[in-house]
């Protein structure tokens, strides 16, 4: 099997719209969360979001949308876009530049695209509203394209003239981790040389507030206090959107074109809880099996793992279940550092897996262990694993990235620091 490396990253996230900003936010523990104007009304109990800076979507008309001037799109490119596709367009540009891919290498039958998004529920709602109030004949010509979750890959394939395999993944909050796993396999099997892995999500009341009724969202109003994964006072997640792109590439292809690797993807595992629509298995049995599956696939002894970027969204049930899963994988032996970067970014839903996998690449390459922010008092049920509440001097060499989604779907990715000759 071919070895898989990451050769480029792109970020449009609540904690930064470039690799550098994101790295600094992670190292300096800067939050991307702030009061969200869309939630200002008194009847909205949730007040915070991991806002995406530099992008505004005041109306459904793409002509009214504003975004950083370095991203130049034509009318034809903008017309079918959703907010999540536009974020992803920016992240793609960064990732292509970082990986130093030529236009021919991007638009090539050996280059694929694996995407994950929940779609734009905002535009879907507005499109249906138009259909019902102004008549079927008045449906937006692009209404179906910018309503469905597939709009992400549809837009990107067209904008970047992708010629290899392209697909969308829809497994709730583990979607983009599944996309990364699938991309890894495509390269290992020699079916593609390069695969863009894209996670992207809208950031608006339609993508976030539906979680309020199941009490999954934090009602805290102070962005300095929430989300606080693993803390005794955690009261739910804070929503976010944006996009992250990872360029996965076979080692031989990267070496052949003289590209430098940021990290190696060693393997991945997946499982399902087979337990409940919303709640995770309290013992974390499903996630445990995914982690064991991943370690087996990566052929890495568990003792070598020194950091886990947890799924931990800051919900009472989820965080405990994950800590139990980690504990049971590592038994009484050495247990790696654990942190949740969602405490800084908010929960990116379909975006989360890819975004946090890219954070892991930064941690491996820049040699730091991300801290789990906003913890004042650890929940004793979570303290069964070493949570990183303060900066630690150790730099990780092998990391796990956990992702879980509704229906108890679990993914674990294994990555290793890239050092010449390893």
């Amino acid at each position: 099997m071919k070895r898989v490396v990451v050769t480029g990253l792109g970020f449009i996230t609540s904690i930064g719209n470039s690799r550098d900003q994101v790295r600094r936010s992670l190292q300096e523990c800067r939050t991307g969360i702030e009061p969200f104007p869309e939630f200002a009304n008194a009847d909205v109990p949730v007040k915070l979001a991991g806002t995406v800076k530099g992008f505004q979507f005041p109306t459904t008309y793409f002509e009214d949308w504003t975004f950083p001037p370095e991203y130049k799109l034509t009318r034809e490119q903008m017309r079918p876009m959703t907010p999540n596709s536009l974020y992803a367009y920016g992240a793609m540009q960064q990732a292509m530049a970082a990986a130093a891919l030529t236009p021919d290498q991007v638009s090539n039958p050996r280059t694929g695209l694996m995407c994950a998004s929940g779609g734009s529920m905002w535009l879907a709602y507005e499109n249906f509203h138009t259909m019902l109030t102004r008549g079927v004949a008045r449906c937006q010509p692009m209404g179906i394209i910018n309503s469905i979750p597939g709009s992400l890959y549809i837009n990107l394939v067209t904008c970047f003239k992708i010629k290899g395999g392209s697909s969308g993944f829809s497994s709730a909050c583990s979607s983009s981790a599944h996309a990364l796993g699938a991309a890894c396999d495509l390269i290992r099997l020699g079916r593609q040389d390069v695969v863009f892995v894209v996670g992207a999500e809208d950031c608006n009341k339609f993508s976030i507030l539906p979680f309020a009724s199941i009490r999954a969202l934090s009602l805290q109003t102070d962005p300095a206090k929430t989300p606080c994964a693993f803390d005794i006072k955690r009261d739910g997640f804070v929503g976010t959107g944006g996009a992250t792109v990872l360029v996965l590439e076979s080692l031989e292809h990267a070496e052949h074109r003289g590209a430098s690797a940021c990290a190696e993807v060693l393997g991945w595992g997946q499982s399902s809880d087979g337990y409940n629509v919303l709640a995770p298995d309290p013992n974390g049995d499903g996630l445990k099996r995914a982690m064991e599956d991943a370690l087996r696939d990566a052929n890495v002894p568990k003792e070598e793992v020194d950091y886990i970027n947890a799924h931990a969204t800051s919900t009472p049930a989820g965080d405990v279940s994950e800590c139990r899963a980690i504990r049971s994988v590592f038994g009484n032996g050495k247990t790696p550092h654990v942190s949740s970067t969602k405490s800084l970014t908010g929960h990116g839903l379909s975006l989360a897996g890819a975004m946090e996998a890219a954070f892991c690449v930064l941690a491996l390459q820049e040699k730091f262990t991300p801290v789990s922010a906003h913890i004042t008092q650890l929940d004793p049920q979570c303290a069964i694993v070493p949570i990183v509440t303060e900066p630690v001097p150790e730099a990780p060499r092998v990391v796990l990235k956990n992702s879980s989604g509704f229906g108890g779907t679990n993914v674990c990715l294994v990555m290793r620091r890239w050092e010449n000759g390893n």
Partner: protein, 308 residues
């Protein structure tokens, strides 16, 4: 008709004309209040202006009636659809797909809308065919298809073919001196006539004609005046003289750079199932059948639909 728009109507109209100029909105209000068809060009201009891509080869301010919507104003099919939806909403009418197909220029669009609103009938414009479109109709196919473009307008047709130089028969006609054969010039005229029969005759006769049911029957008064060589553009102008099942009779001329090349006084095509050789009731060949029909005199003022 004179109505005053309610606040809601006005708000809807403005929403429908978002990003259009104030003149467009004024014209639309006037149209809704008075039904004045003279407001149409302003409304159409305003809507096109809102959708025209920045990279359009021809700016709208420089456009005239002959400006083409797709090639000049730079509209792709989806933008055209957005514009149609917008026009439909503002003028409160419906444009059918078949109607859309014929609207190629700004002038035709305005004329079409004017006719639609005033209830007058618009003359159908000439229908243009590219080489690819011709190939979808004719039974003759490349390399034996000698038409690059055609326009069918009523009972007349214009077509053209540029001699490429790589036609295989030019190797021997003549060796080291390629000259486009006269017989192929006449064949091209037959193909152009065949296009007319397949595209226009069904509507006049009220029945379909299969593309492999059209045959060359006879040629009278064929004259050839001038040699043509690779690079020369042959231009055909032909006219239907008579259409009576199973025959279509044409006359026509061929020119190149304004100089006459050839003329046919009477080109006869036979068509329809009854002339198929395998039809036991049919004479032996299409030509026999044609001759049989031709020997019975046809008065030149017979109605096109006359049944024998």
């Amino acid at each position: 008709m004179n109505v005053t728009l309610t606040e809601n109507d006005l708000a809807d109209l403005k929403e429908g004309l978002r990003r259009c100029s104030p003149e467009t909105v004024d014209a639309a209000v006037r149209y809704r209040e008075t039904g004045d068809p003279d407001t149409i060009p302003t409304i159409v201009f305003g809507i096109l202006e809102r959708y025209q891509p920045a990279t359009a080869p021809v700016k709208l301010s420089e456009a005239d009636d002959n400006t083409r919507l797709i090639e000049d104003i730079g509209l792709d099919s989806l933008t055209l659809l957005e514009i149609v939806l917008s026009i439909e909403e503002i003028l409160q009418l419906r444009i059918e797909n078949e109607e859309l197909r014929e609207i190629r220029t700004l002038g035709l669009l305005n004329k079409f809308l004017h006719a639609k609103i005033t209830g007058t009938k618009m003359e159908a414009p000439a229908k243009l065919y590219t080489r690819d479109q011709i190939a979808l109709v004719l039974p003759q196919q490349p390399p034996f298809m000698f038409l690059d473009a055609a326009a069918l307008d009523g009972n007349t047709l214009k077509a053209s073919y540029t001699v490429r130089g790589d036609e295989s028969f030019l190797e021997g006609h003549f060796k080291d001196e390629p000259i486009f054969p006269a017989s192929i010039v006449f064949e091209a005229m037959g193909q152009a006539a065949c296009l007319w029969v397949l595209e226009k005759a069904p509507a006049q006769l009220g029945r379909a004609i299969k593309s492999n049911h059209v045959f060359f029957a006879s040629l009278d008064g064929a004259h050839f005046y001038r040699k043509t060589k690779p690079g020369d553009k042959l231009e055909f102008e032909q006219k239907l003289v008579k259409l009576r099942e199973p025959l279509a009779i044409f006359e026509g001329t061929v020119t190149s750079q304004g100089q006459r090349v050839a003329k046919i006084e009477r080109l006869v095509l036979a068509f329809g199932e009854q002339i198929l050789p395998e039809n036991p009731a049919a004479p032996e060949t299409p030509a026999d059948k044609a001759l049989a029909v031709l020997t019975t005199p046809i008065a030149s003022n017979d109605s096109n639909n006359g049944q024998s």
